[in-house]
């Protein structure tokens, strides 16, 4: 009868978090001979007849044959099993060159003194053996099953692909550690160049081989054939070629030589699985570990956060004065201060003014630009009082003045400008243009050029709205100015208020522009909260009165806690 072979001999990739030393594989090879086929056929017939009659059968299994025509072996990871050839080779001390050879020599001697090796035909090459590197290449030479015509040398691509998988240079990429010294390899060998062009993990390899020579003539190097290759990298990927049979048909191996014999190969994974209790225990341990890590992190962070009192908006501005450009003279510096309107306050140690360094400009494009990169931080508090809803809140203003200082120590006013604090929190990049007061006539221009005096503003708030202004129309008629350059600021604004928390909790984010402009439409939210609180308190008082006397004392305790 025609046997069905499994022709799917590609590699299979498995991933497991378990240690690879728990891997155990059972390999079984058996030779397909005519008598074996016959006995198998007979066995099958008998088995199908067994339910009909009580024919007890000792099938024609000749003991002498099975010893040599089949073998079943359990192999662990990197377990070194010697072939007949290796046993003979490592028996004499003179053949040993490397320490590995000497170690094999001692092992072989121990095996000979003991019962002998437990394997017969099946043996292994572990990662340390020198054959592991060049095996697939040899297999390439004998890849006659691809083509009918015998082509002796593999193609260029096949050659390259064969050696791509095996990297023996750096075996320590188990955890992708990069050496701290000698990062650059100044003289790479050609193989290093070839292998480094492919992103590849170093694999530990193990080959399970079979000595498929005719019985009685084991130990010939030519009869060795590769049965199974197992590769793993340090991170839990296991590649098995060919894949486990899993109950399907066995694989077929055809030997070379004059007698082309057919062998059947079955590969099975018999690693012990974890017991369910152990699995549960492991999962619980992981869960525990993660919970503890989370607790540890949150304990590092802490629970408290500084918050402003109720009804107060804290406005925090981190910013920097970035640059100034387009001014007439060189060596610029900026003198700035903040002004807080009504209802705004700041902490006593908060500095409300500052002076930058003097910076010599450089030419960027068509303009001369000075870089200040001056960070400042500003914090202010807004007290929300009971006021009419129509009044638009006033935000603080930053007034600045650009001056230049020349080598004769003369100061000149270069420009005045102002910056209104943004109402919306977030990042703002603002460029403010400046002007300077001008006196008509040549005298002032000459004075400014030679000795550096120029008209200055007495009240800086004149730049925007003078502080002394009361009325409806601001008139600057008759005031002469000249446009000068511009100053760029980078501002990061943060607003914080308790009522923002309540709004978030009540999920009432009203998106009206006016609300955001005010930032304290939350004031309305505060009112509703207060009203709700008052209502709840009234209800509780009524309920308290209707309760009998002896319960009143306990509820009064509770009430004190809830109103705190």
């Amino acid at each position: 009868m025609a046997d069905c072979w499994n022709t799917d001999t590609g590699e299979a990739v498995y991933r497991s978090r378990d240690a690879v030393k728990n891997l155990k594989i059972k390999v079984r090879i058996e030779r397909v001979t005519s008598t074996a086929a016959l006995s198998q056929h007979l066995q099958q017939e008998v088995l199908s007849q067994q339910d009909r009659g009580a024919i007890e059968l000792e099938t024609l299994t000749s003991q002498g044959q099975t010893g040599d025509n089949e073998e079943e072996l359990v192999v662990g990871w990197q377990e070194k099993l010697f072939s007949q050839y290796e046993m003979e080779l490592f028996q004499n001390e003179s053949a040993c060159q490397t320490p590995l050879d000497r170690q094999y020599h001692t092992e072989v001697k121990a095996l000979n003194r003991a019962k002998g090796r437990r394997n017969h035909r099946i043996f292994t090459y572990t990662d340390h053996d020198r054959y592991t590197n060049c095996l697939p290449f040899h297999q390439l030479q004998h890849s006659t099953d691809l083509l009918t015509t015998t082509k002796s040398s593999p193609t260029f691509l096949a050659e390259r692909m064969a050696s791509v998988r095996h990297r023996r240079q750096d075996r320590r990429t188990m955890d992708c550690s990069i050496p701290k010294s000698r990062i650059i390899n100044w003289e790479p060998t050609e193989e290093f160049v070839k292998n480094s062009h492919v992103v590849n993990n170093a694999m530990q390899t193990m080959h399970i081989m079979g000595d498929l020579g005719p019985s009685g003539r084991l130990g010939q190097k030519e009869n060795e054939s590769l049965l199974v290759t197992i590769k793993t990298d340090g991170t839990g990927t296991v590649i098995v070629k060919p894949d486990f049979n899993k109950g399907k048909e066995p694989y077929r191996i055809v030997t070379e030589g004059e007698k082309r014999e057919v062998w059947r190969l079955t590969v099975e994974n018999i690693s012990t699985t974890m017991k369910p209790e152990e699995k549960d225990r492991e999962q619980n341990m992981y869960k525990d570990l993660y919970v503890r890590h989370k607790d540890y992190l949150s304990s590092l962070v802490g629970q408290d956060f500084e918050m402003p009192p109720v009804g107060i908006l804290r406005y925090l501005m981190n910013g920097e004065i970035v640059s100034a450009k387009g001014f007439e003279y060189d060596n610029l510096y900026i003198h700035f201060f903040m002004e807080l309107p009504n209802n705004w306050s700041s902490l006593p140690f908060q500095s409300l003014s500052g002076v930058t360094q003097t910076c010599r400009t450089k030419t960027l494009g068509k303009e001369n630009v000075a870089f200040f990169s001056y960070p400042f931080s500003f914090e202010a508090f807004y007290m929300s009082e009971k006021e009419s809803e129509e009044s638009i809140p006033q935000w603080p203003v930053l007034y600045f003045k650009v001056l230049s200082l020349d080598s004769w120590q003369c100061y000149r006013t270069e420009g005045y400008g102002y910056l209104l604090f943004p109402a919306m929190p977030g990042k703002h990049t603002i460029t403010c243009h400046t002007w300077r007061p001008l006196q008509t006539g040549t005298v002032s221009a000459l004075r400014r050029f030679f000795i550096g005096g120029s008209p200055e503003l007495e009240d800086h708030s004149y730049v925007r709205i003078p502080g002394t202004f009361k009325g409806e129309r601001l008139s600057r008629f008759g005031f002469c100015t000249e446009t000068t350059g511009s100053v760029t600021f980078n501002l990061h604004c943060i607003q914080q208020a308790k009522s923002f928390v309540d709004a978030a909790m009540m999920k009432k984010r009203r998106q009206k522009v006016f609300d955001h402009l005010g930032g304290f439409s939350q004031q309305g939210a505060i009112c509703t909260i207060l009203e709700a609180f008052q209502r709840a308190r009234r209800k509780m008082q009524e309920a308290r009165e209707s309760l009998p006397r002896d319960l009143v004392t306990t509820t009064s305790q509770l009430q004190i806690e809830s109103s705190a």
Binding site: L297, S298, L300, V301, G302, Q303, D304, F305, E306, M307, R314, L316, N318, G319, E320, V322, S323, N331, Y333, S351, G354, V355, T356, Q357, T358, C359, R360, T361, K362, L364, V369, A370, F371, F372, S373, Y374, P375, F376, S377, E379, P425, G426, K427, N490, H492, C493, I494, Q495, Q496, A497, K498, S499, F500, V501, A504, G519
Partner: protein, 175 residues
């Protein structure tokens, strides 16, 4: 109890007189801030661009802060240095900027300046290099003494920072 993640890179620098540049950077915070993980200072490699003006570092910044208050928001300070072909290093600029306080992706250009000495020192600087440096870069943060410095404008450092804020809205912070 609020946490801040700063994940980004120092992309590179441009606009400096010479091109073989490296950058020393650091993040400075107030007392209420605590670094949970990440390196808060470092030094990039030296980059010499063959084409173009910009030296690219692509140096990663990955910080995780926990904070109890809004004061002392993290500030980034940078020092750009130049290494010439003889291996000598000279300062090319100091730059300071705040870490953004709104969540999202930000592209930041931090400008730099370099202290200037007297005209003799400037003349020597043209030929030999070197130049005055700040005794301690931290005195910049006090702010009060900056007016005494005489500086000149140098180039710009580009940064890309992604900001992730956690639990800030639970404490009523709107940014």
């Amino acid at each position: 109890m609020a946490e801040l993640h700063i994940i980004g890179q120092i992309v590179g620098a441009s606009g400096f007189p010479e091109n073989s540049l490296f950058c020393k950077w650091g993040v400075h915070t107030g007392g209420a801030w605590r670094l949970l993980s990440g390196l808060k200072e470092g030094q990039t490699q030296v980059d010499l661009p063959q084409i173009g003006d910009m030296a690219y570092w692509s140096h990663p910044i990955d910080l995780h802060y926990a904070t109890k208050g809004l004061q002392g928001w993290p500030k980034l300070h940078l020092q750009v240095w130049h290494q010439d072909s003889f291996g000598r290093c000279q300062l090319y600029g100091y730059g300071y900027c705040h870490v953004p306080s709104s969540p999202g992706h930000h592209r930041i250009s931090c400008v730099t300046w370099r202290p200037l000495g007297s005209w003799q020192e400037q003349l020597a600087q043209i030929f030999v290099g070197g130049g005055p440096q700040l005794r301690s870069p931290d005195l910049i943060y006090s702010g009060a003494d900056r007016y005494r410095l005489h500086t000149e404008a140098m180039g710009t450092v580009e940064l890309e920072l992604g900001i992730i804020m956690r639990h800030f809205d639970k404490y009523g912070v709107d940014s």
